[in-house]
């Protein structure tokens, strides 16, 4: 009799233990009914193979997937939905392709939110689709301020950086440090034109002058910028402001060095630089160049920890766009969790005005007025090779520009939320 009792009791204990766990699993997922199509779909639209594919591209998709995995791990059975999907489309930096892909994602693939979208003209197209379909769009890698200005809408959020923030950081600092006369070269499309305007304004407000500006066709098929560079010395500038991005920037800096403009007294200032660009050129080609960075992987321990996880998945160090994609995806999922539904209007309501502090957003806040996501940004300087201690250890952070100073103030915004 006694002999039979022990297994019986232990069986009972195990069964009740299992039941307790099981009960936990069945409980709070009751919110599942409020998730459209029973799943949350995160779409990433970016340049998968072209000039902007290293700075965001396939690794940005991996970053979004990391956010999904971390979200699931964090909330486990309490997650608002366990069915979270990440889908991808390549827009080849063409606005018309981005437009079609966004439409397809929202309509047919049931995307609840789209992320990333480098190339400003393409981002504006996606923002238009977001407004039309009433679905969310988190822009990370496009820079135009129009997304939170004239073209702002209720469903579009602008993460990470924009041309105002870059010009305000770099343009102002470099001018105040004594480089009064600027010669600006920029690629002739939405991003470049916006950069040129933002920098001209920042330089003039800081007491400087734009003594010349030259555009180059986009994309620049010959890879040649010598014409633009050869015309610079005649204008007698103190500094050449390069407003190109990615592979084009790499080409331009290479040629700037070959034409020895530095020895002719023309310094170099770069409008937008990703760490992948420094890696391409080698730090010595850019040593001493100051630029504004939205995030740097080796800034502190918290950033480093995330960068280590990223390296495990991708084999390289993250650009700020990669980190921004992760943070945007994570905060979107948290908002869905908090709202208990993926219905766009409820998620937007949860996000607006929210203050966030994570490894990417320091002193972060999602402005309700124009959906600009503000946070601390950094004035960085490229280290000479002799100071580089490990792979991708290229930046020295000069100063932190506090969130409320880094971005265009709401009072100056032309955004009218409809």
């Amino acid at each position: 009799m006694r002999r039979n009792l022990i297994p019986a009791i232990s069986t009972l204990a195990v069964v009740s233990l299992l039941a307790a766990c099981g009960g936990g699993a069945g409980g709070p997922s009751g919110g599942g009914g409020k998730i459209s199509d029973d799943k949350i779909v995160l779409g990433v639209i970016n340049d998968q193979t072209g000039i902007y594919s290293e700075l965001s591209g396939p690794n940005a998709v991996k970053a979004v997937q990391m956010a999904v995995d971390d979200f699931k791990a964090k909330h486990g059975d309490d997650a608002v939905s366990k069915n979270i999907e990440v889908i991808v489309a390549d827009h080849q930096n063409k606005p018309e392709v981005a437009n079609t892909k966004a439409q397809e994602m929202y309509d047919r693939q049931k995307a609840d939110a789209i992320f990333d979208v480098p190339t400003s003209s393409a981002a504006l197209a996606v923002a238009g689709q977001a407004a039309a379909k009433k679905k969310l769009y988190f822009n990370i890698t496009a820079a135009t301020t129009a997304l939170t200005g004239d073209k702002c809408n209720k469903y579009t959020f602008h993460y990470a950086y924009d041309t105002y923030m870059l010009a305000n950081g770099t343009g102002t600092t470099v001018t105040e440090a004594g480089a009064k006369n600027w010669y600006i070269v920029y690629p002739d499309y939405a991003f470049g034109q916006d950069m040129e305007k933002s920098f001209s304004t920042a330089v003039e407000q800081a007491g400087g002058k734009v003594v010349g500006k030259k555009s180059s066709e986009f994309p620049n098929t010959s890879g040649d910028f010598s014409s633009q560079l050869l015309q610079a010395p005649a204008a007698k500038p103190d500094v050449l402001g390069a407003m190109h991005a990615g592979g084009e920037l790499v080409n331009l800096v290479k040629q700037y060095n070959q034409f020895n403009l530095k020895d002719k007294g023309i310094g170099l200032s770069v409008g937008l630089m990703f760490i992948t660009d420094i890696h391409s050129l080698g730090p010595d080609a850019l040593a001493g160049t100051k630029f504004t960075d939205a995030w740097y992987w080796n800034f502190d321990q918290q950033n480093r920890e995330w960068a280590d996880k990223f390296k495990e998945k991708t084999g390289s160090r993250p650009s700020f766009a990669h980190a921004g994609n992760y943070s945007a995806a994570m905060n979107y999922l948290e908002a869905v969790q908090a709202a208990g539904t993926d219905a766009s209007d409820d998620v937007v309501k949860n996000l607006e005005g929210k203050e966030i502090n994570d490894f990417f957003l320091r002193n972060g806040k999602i402005r309700a007025e124009d959906h600009r996501v503000i946070h601390d940004v950094y004035l960085a300087e490229v280290k000479p090779k002799s100071e580089v201690k490990e792979d991708y250890d290229y930046e020295k952070i000069v100063t932190t520009i506090p969130a409320d100073k880094a971005f265009k103030p709401v009072s100056e915004s032309t955004c009218k939320m409809g």
């Binding site: 594919s53 700075l55 098929t221 010959s222 010598s226 633009q228 015309q231 290479k254 070959q258 391409s280």
Partner: protein, 290 residues
């Protein structure tokens, strides 16, 4: 005036690449009637060849300048033997598709290995800094590229105009049937000529590495322009392609300064005008035009 000369000179430097690439295309087209779309890919492989040799084996620029074109020239010969030759008898479109497909494969293979971010390649020691050209100073490396390309073009011309081999190639290029009828084995020369054309593309690729971005797409971006150069020069015309190469480099550079919006478009406008006015190209002859 100095400015104008400086921009024109700069245009000649850029034209060097067009000239060498167009020369290779013209030779291949002339001899085989094949429009080699993979020309841009071999230009890209040339640049990557130099980059890989430097980073994996520490081989410097000067050695790469010799080794890479020879190696890729051999690859070109093999390509002709194994694939191109089988399609020559068919519609020219087949070889166009073959070389186009090859381009996509080569680009994607390198993209898988190296990504599309441009790779760094330093300027060769001894050619850093600038040289004084009297009226203005110019980067030493760019001057070298121009001088070297002119020498290669002149060398290629001497080879074709003054040697027996050249005579056979020219004859086979312009009148393959007649040359065959004279008892000359034209077939023997097809592979070497194809390899030579590819080697020229590789050579321009190596030359481009220190100046331009070494990336899998560098050839794809350029090749369309080079096709326009060949058409303007006269399809299959050897002198025409070189002359048009330098001419268009200059046109683009001056266009960039004086009518920036039209710099690249101007090449295609010129192409349209040339085709209307002289359908065989500036230096082509009506009978060789296809």
């Amino acid at each position: 005036m100095t400015d104008l000369l400086q921009h024109a000179f700069n245009g000649l430097v850029n034209g060097s690449f067009y000239a060498l690439l167009a020369l290779g295309l013209a030779v291949i087209f002339g001899m085989l009637g094949v429009v080699n779309f993979a020309h841009g890919a071999f230009y890209m492989l040339g640049a990557f060849g130099a980059f890989i040799l430097l980073n994996e084996a520490g081989v410097n620029f000067w050695v790469a300048l010799l080794v890479v074109p020879l190696a890729l020239g051999a690859v070109g010969m093999a390509l002709e033997r194994l694939l191109v030759r089988r399609l020559v008898a068919l519609d020219p479109l087949y070889n166009f598709l073959l070389t186009f497909g090859l381009t996509l494969i080569l680009q994607d293979l390198l993209r898988m290995k190296y990504g599309s971010q441009p790779q760094p390649y330093p300027q060769p020691a001894g050619l850093r800094g600038t040289v004084d050209l009297g009226l203005f100073d110019f980067p030493a490396y760019q001057v070298f590229v121009l001088v070297f390309s002119v020498l290669v073009s002149v060398g290629a011309w001497l080879l074709l105009a003054r040697t027996r081999v050249g005579m056979i190639i020219r004859a086979a290029t312009e009148r393959p049937e007649l040359t065959r009828a004279m008892g000359i084995d034209v077939g023997r020369w097809i592979s070497p000529v194809f390899g030579f054309g590819i080697a020229l593309a590789a050579l321009s690729g190596v030359l481009a590495a220190p100046m331009r971005a070494v990336s899998p797409l560098m050839g794809a971006d350029l090749i369309i322009l080079v096709f326009a150069v060949v058409v303007i020069g006269g399809l299959g015309s050897i002198f025409g392609s070189v002359a048009a190469g330098f001419l268009i480099g200059m046109l683009q550079a001056l266009g960039n300064v004086y009518v920036p919006g039209l710099a690249t478009t101007s090449v295609f406008i010129l192409m349209a005008v040339v085709l209307l006015w002289r359908p065989a190209g500036l230096f082509g002859r009506e009978e060789t035009a296809v």
